[in-house]
């Protein structure tokens, strides 16, 4: 068994194995590798089947063992795709107490939606009140809520599931707007009533006073109730992680 499946217990008998095996040559013989591959695939399939049979029972198990699966995704390239299906997430539309798989999310996607949206937050409630959530309010686009830093690392390492890219809603808004459709565009045009003469000097002033810290100032169409937002190429928890790495040298 690979290391991340170390919780699995059992007996495996293989008649093709020689009876007298010395320690060093059994460790990496081709037969053992084959055996491990077969069993690994079989165990993952077992978990997947059981998850489909009884989602609640699986959710319970996942709470305990989810981190093993995540470890597997990070280390086992061959079985990554099937392991991804075992992951469960909270989402905005499903509510805090229900979890969904990435397959569920893809099934519920709107026609033409190409991205899997997620938000990272320390808590589920915090995610709902985040200003980044604003453009999604009133739309039926679902957003996955990641409360675990590890989840985000997995997303950014693997970048896609079934051809759908993972997109943090804290980064570029262009994609979101495309999926939200034209309706919101018209809404926001009506809302931006400030004349250009007033807006441009303000943007200039903002850029000059913050010039060491930001790359550009732009008028946002994504917000409804919050005056301003910082957006970047990385999400805030990634930035936090980089800060952590810097302080550790």
């Amino acid at each position: 068994m690979p290391h991340y499946l170390r919780f699995v217990k059992g007996v495996v008998d293989c008649e093709d194995l020689p009876l007298n095996i010395s320690r060093e040559n059994y460790q990496d013989s081709g037969l053992i590798t084959k055996l491990r591959n077969v069993l690994t695939r079989r165990v993952i399939k077992l978990i997947d089947d059981e998850a489909k049979r009884n989602a609640d029972k699986y959710a319970q198990w996942y709470k305990e063992f989810g981190n093993f699966i995540k470890e597997g995704i990070a280390v086992d390239q061959d079985n990554k795709d099937s392991l991804f299906k075992l992951l469960r997430f909270n989402s905005v539309n499903m509510g805090e107490n229900k979890s969904m798989s990435l397959d569920d999310y893809v099934d519920k996607m709107k026609e033409g939606q190409e991205k899997i949206y997620y938000i990272t937050s320390a808590s589920y409630k915090g995610a709902l009140t985040s200003p980044y959530m604003e453009p999604f309010k009133g739309s039926d686009l679902d957003v996955l809520v990641l409360v675990n830093n590890v989840d985000e690392i997995l997303f950014s390492q693997n970048s896609e599931f079934k051809g759908k890219r993972f997109v943090s809603i804290e980064t570029s808004f262009d994609d979101i707007q495309k999926d939200l459709g034209k309706q919101s565009e018209i809404d926001s045009m009506e809302r931006s009533r400030l004349p250009d003469e007033e807006v441009s000097p303000f943007c200039l002033w903002l850029k000059n006073s913050l010039k060491d810290k930001i790359a550009k100032v732009s008028i946002s169409k994504r917000l409804k109730d919050t005056p301003a937002i910082i957006s970047g190429n990385m999400s805030s928890s990634m930035r936090m992680m980089m800060q952590m790495m810097e302080t550790q040298g």
Partner: protein, 58 residues
């Protein structure tokens, strides 16, 4: 207890599976999922594999 992984699936009772797991994992906590798996292709395997319902890595 005999080698239950050598026997046919339908001949092994649920109770035997449970007792075998208790013995193997040295625990009274019942297992979560179980797989009795035998195959000849690509290699000959006879196995009983358990997935526990809890672990102690925290």
């Amino acid at each position: 207890m005999g080698a239950i992984w050598y026997r046919e699936k339908r001949e092994v009772t649920a109770d035997e599976y449970e007792r075998f797991f208790e013995q193997l994992a040295n625990t009274k906590i019942p297992y979560k999922y179980m797989l009795h798996y035998s195959t000849d292709v690509p290699i000959s395997i006879k196995s009983v594999v358990y997935i526990p319902s809890t672990h102690n890595e925290r």
